[in-house]
């Protein structure tokens, strides 16, 4: 079955999931084509036209430096995609490896999973905040920190799933036919975990957006000059009474993107292998 066929099967008859997927494609397009869509340079300061209301030529108005909000929103899509995809990749690779190896090699697992328990004793944002104090504000560090936070949950989920798979007859068969550890892990266990991993990825993507926005807002996320939706909200919060629209657009963009990702996750979970359905929790 080709990739497009499986996408079609997942989203057929799931209107909300499809709408979510379309919106995410729009964001992805905006992120890729930002320099061609954005009418202004997102960093261009124009003190004469500061805090102007939405209209022409500034569709979403301008901020306290006179920068064009619409262009900054478009460029913000890049950060959204970068932070989302980056932290998902980090969480799935590290958390996935820890979870799978822990379930497969029980003795190693006793040790590694206790470490995960310790990290999970810290509430998510608190762990991110503590880690950010040790690191400088940068895009890569934000991705790593959010990635670590969600690597813990991913590890725990994959640990449970791998344990279930390990008891299946086809694994016994692989062992009997002389397959090595690497072959069992990568050829027999991992392919069965791909669809739950994708579902998990969509929920991490959604959560990561909210966490990144919160970090930006607290002044501990991306560097302040980076045009991200979280930074835009953080900067314009003191102008909320004078220019409420400044908060409106980046906020709505965050909400729509998180909502869409959750919808896509839900649609994917509903069409997933029933064995694992209880293991993955979305919003």
């Amino acid at each position: 079955m080709s990739f497009l066929h499986s996408v079609r099967d997942i989203f057929r008859g799931r209107a909300m999931g499809t709408a979510g997927l379309i919106w995410l494609c729009v964001i992805l397009f905006a992120a890729l084509a930002a320099p061609w869509i954005a009418p202004f340079d997102p960093l261009d300061i124009d003190p004469v036209n500061r805090l102007t209301e939405p209209g022409w030529p500034h569709l979403f108005g301008t901020d306290h430096y006179g920068r064009d909000t619409f262009s900054r929103c478009i460029y913000g899509a890049r950060m959204t995609m970068l932070i989302g995809l980056g932290s998902v990749a980090f969480a799935l690779v590290t958390g996935g490896a820890v979870g799978m190896l822990s379930a497969y090699f029980t003795r190693l697992g006793n040790f590694l999973m206790r470490g995960i328990d310790v990290l999970m004793a810290f509430p998510a944002l608190l762990l991110a905040l503590v880690l950010m104090t040790l690191l400088e504000r940068s895009v890569v560090n934000t991705i790593i920190v959010i990635g670590i936070v969600y690597a813990t949950t991913t590890a725990r989920i994959l640990f449970g799933m791998t344990l279930k798979l390990k008891r299946e007859v086809f694994i016994d068969a692989a062992v009997c036919s002389g397959a090595g550890h690497g072959s069992i892990l990568f050829r027999h266990i991992l392919p069965n975990l791909i669809s739950p991993l994708l579902v998990q990825a969509s929920f991490i993507f959604a959560f990561a957006q909210l966490q990144a926005a919160a970090l930006d807002f607290l002044g501990l996320g991306l560097p302040p000059e980076v045009p991200s939706w979280g930074n835009m909200l953080s900067e314009s919060r003191i102008y909320v009474t004078r220019a409420p629209w400044l908060l409106l657009y980046p906020g709505l963009l965050i909400i729509l993107s998180v909502f869409s990702m959750n919808m896509v996750g839900d649609a994917m979970r509903d069409s997933m292998d029933p064995r694992f359905k209880d293991d993955i929790a979305g919003v």
Binding site: V118, A121, P123
Partner: protein, 315 residues
């Protein structure tokens, strides 16, 4: 049950110890001399040397850890660099606000989350259900600080119904009426969590509805409302109770943000301010206190779960 409680309590100790190691190492992981880090930029070399001696930084690191842990166990996390008062006093100063905020938030979560969840499940598939589930999903996608800022704008600035920020203690003038300062913050904090509870109540009620004992109850002619409440809802509450530990974690995380938005003098804002001020003794103390609290709440939730559903402790 007693054996299970004891076992769970015992299992808490190593995790807590490991968490304390992390919190302790945290200051040592920051590049530079911990004494200089603790004292901040304005410290003189003499101050740094004196604190180094006092902190016993010349001793092996594990000795330092045990000394620190010994003090921490007695509630002594050192002195705040910023306030120049004991860290425990600083934390205690924020406790009232944060505890009241948590209580009010929990009330909102329960009075909003549970009835809407039940309604959504009993009218599964209807427009009420779709509206409630869609709304819940939407609210779970809203950044808390964004919601908070707009609530301030609408209810405090435009309508003038509630104060926009701060919280005088309920022991000060105004007494319990001062709780109105916490109304918007608690609503902000409750929104995403109530959304979560709505989804959970709905999902677990739909699960229970499929069970045999519910069919039996219906078959013997019980009133649908009675079946919904006594047979479905009560059993569904078990898994909802289990989720309260998770909710509490989300609450702590979001309280940090919400207290910052509303400038509340609580523990959450203390975390952020201490991080921005590089007040490391306070960061260490407050993080350790929150982790302990979080683990104890999780334990209570798990025990309540085992008590409600005896099958759990037998596993």
């Amino acid at each position: 049950m007693l054996a299970y409680t004891f076992k769970r309590l015992l299992a808490l100790v190593p995790t807590l110890l490991a968490a304390s190691v992390l919190v302790f190492l945290f200051v040592h992981l920051i590049p530079g001399d911990p004494a200089a880090v603790l004292l901040g930029d304005s410290a003189t070399p003499e101050d740094v040397a004196r604190l180094s001696r006092e902190m016993g930084l010349d001793r092996p690191i594990y000795v330092q850890y045990f000394i620190w842990l010994g003090h921490a166990l007695q509630g002594d996390f050192g002195t705040s660099v910023f306030f120049r008062t004991p860290v425990m006093d600083v934390i205690a100063g924020g406790a009232e606000t944060s505890i009241l905020l948590a209580v009010l938030t929990m009330i909102w979560i329960i009075i909003l989350g549970i009835p809407i969840g039940v309604m959504s499940a009993t009218r599964h598939g209807s427009w009420v259900d779709q509206l409630a589930s869609g709304g819940a999903m939407l609210f779970a996608s809203v950044p808390t600080f964004w919601l908070g800022l707009y609530l301030i704008l609408i209810f405090a600035v435009w309508l003038g119904w509630f104060p926009s920020s701060g919280f005088p203690s309920i022991h000060e003038e105004g007494g319990l009426l001062n709780l109105r300062y916490l109304l918007l913050p608690s609503l902000t904090l409750a929104a995403p969590n109530a959304a979560l509870i709505i989804r959970l109540v709905r999902a677990s009620m739909l699960d229970v509805q499929r069970e045999d004992h519910v069919r039996t109850a219906r078959a013997k002619g019980l009133h649908p409302a009675r079946v919904a409440i006594k047979h479905v809802f009560r059993n569904a509450l078990i898994s909802v109770a289990a989720a309260f530990g998770f909710t509490f974690a989300a609450l702590i995380s979001e309280a940090v943000v919400t207290e910052t938005v509303f400038s509340l003098p609580g523990v959450g804002q203390l975390v952020v301010q201490s991080i921005l001020r590089r007040d490391y003794p306070v960061i260490q103390g407050v993080i350790l206190v929150i982790v302990c609290l979080y683990m104890v709440i999780n334990l209570i939730v798990d025990l309540a779960y085992a008590w409600l559903d005896p099958r759990v402790s037998l596993k």
